[in-house]
Symmetry: C2
Amino acid sequence: MNNTKVCLANRPIGLPSPSAWSYQTSPLGPLKEGEILIKQHYISIDPAMRGWIREGKSYIPPVEIGEVMRAGTVGEVVKVNKNDHFKVGDFVSGAGGVQQYTCTNGQGFYKINTKHAPLTTYLGALGMPGMTAYFGILEVGKIKTGDVVLVSGAAGAVGSLVGQIAKLKGCKVVGIAGGAEKCKYLIDDLGFDAAIDYKNNNVFSELKVHCHDGIDVYFDNVGGDILDIALLKLRRHARIVICGAISQYNATAEIKGPSNYLSLLVNRATMQGMVVFDYADRYHEGMAQIGSWLADGSIKTREDVYEGIDKFNDTLLRLFSGEKIGKLLLKVS
Amino acid sequence: MNNTKVCLANRPIGLPSPSAWSYQTSPLGPLKEGEILIKQHYISIDPAMRGWIREGKSYIPPVEIGEVMRAGTVGEVVKVNKNDHFKVGDFVSGAGGVQQYTCTNGQGFYKINTKHAPLTTYLGALGMPGMTAYFGILEVGKIKTGDVVLVSGAAGAVGSLVGQIAKLKGCKVVGIAGGAEKCKYLIDDLGFDAAIDYKNNNVFSELKVHCHDGIDVYFDNVGGDILDIALLKLRRHARIVICGAISQYNATAEIKGPSNYLSLLVNRATMQGMVVFDYADRYHEGMAQIGSWLADGSIKTREDVYEGIDKFNDTLLRLFSGEKIGKLLLKVS
């Protein structure tokens, strides 16, 4: 039985090209005592991946050249060699990497129940994107009933959940996304109060209409110009959650800092960064709540699934082209 | 008896030139019932003034063209027409404006006790700069014993107090200031642990030495490149207090936003703006504490005093040239 894995060949400058990766196929060896073998079904494709292959200090060490590319995965245990925690047939999630099979002692993997939700949901609403949205908007954004909440990357895995959670908590929610289809999705399917198509409209003018009296919370997934525009519409004591900056991840020049940051002073506002791992000891709480919202239909999700480990780089690029809606996944089984 | 007042003639672009102001001298009229006449002794010259003459929404309405320039003042009541709160001989502080005499119903002015501290201290450590430092570093910076605190504009009215308060609270304090004289003052007179001369040294290299394990709190008075460098040395859960951005106040191009703001994400850090007015109902607490520190010698202050209302623009420019140490004042009596 062979395993194909995708390793980092070099650190890309700008958008990753196929040459950033080396594909390595080799036979699977025998399991050591305590190990399990996971046949991966889906690989999570996330904006954070672009950061993980950049050199330098960050919230997690970078993937080294030659290493298997880091990725969240869901799969099935197909072999076990004396491991008390897992048995053949268990479905598990963890950072299995961009490969077809993962051989591990099981540390960092947890069992998932496919009766409660489809396998892929554990990489979306019940996975990192869900936990990021949940703890980000509630703990860092500190939303209250009646708040005006703006979210960018609103049709993405995190943004779409942020907006829906804020609606459930009694906020007015405005989403920013690229293109008419995404904007229609935000309003018709997800129940956002308004949507701004940044590709075809002037974001500042639209904000004046939809957030006429200002923004209490801005959940930022994109950075760049949109962060700068949002800063201009802060209400007093507003909170900005810095979750990501996808517009800047492939920047080859210096990152564009928010020129309007002095709006934080004028409005006694706060800009705070978040990393979801800090809430690991409360994931059970987030999963229970989101699970219940999914079950009763309060929260809807959408997936964008590609197939074949050879499509890894193409799929990754869809994060940055803005073509996809919802959670991006690569099916590898 | 004549009053000379300095009015805003036009909104300067870049550094204010003398032509930004019109000097108007006219006889003082009789007081209306309830009014008092204050003979001003000192006018406070503050970085915030540059913001007050800029058009557009801020934390306070701009000074309008033709209006007396806004300024904090200390002076003496010399005439009263049926006012129960003030009597001739009272010393008072308030926003008297850049003029020799202020005629007012007394609203916004409060009596000060020149036995407790010299008159000028009420524009410094016991005035807005003192309150800004006190509430900024304690309430927004949330310093704790053992924190590493970095402060820019460290030899200024606010920065010098921020550093001393942080020392009194058991922090390690590093100040950034321009020139060897200021740096010597920070260490020898104010007891800072280290000082970085940004005019003659590489701030990033010096930070690596003096804040080797990172910064818990950065109190920013200057913005620009120094804010960007400080962002690179944040510890996890660091707090940045945005108090001012003097390096940017005379910018004629777009303000330089902090390119390294994603360090907030990596370090789960917070950048929060502050305006001292929000703490008005607690000024008594700040004044009592700083007053006691002044009395027992725990806190030292320095003043830079110029004389003559005709020197207003020259004095104002000293804020931006970096020539002065401590609180800048204009004596007008």
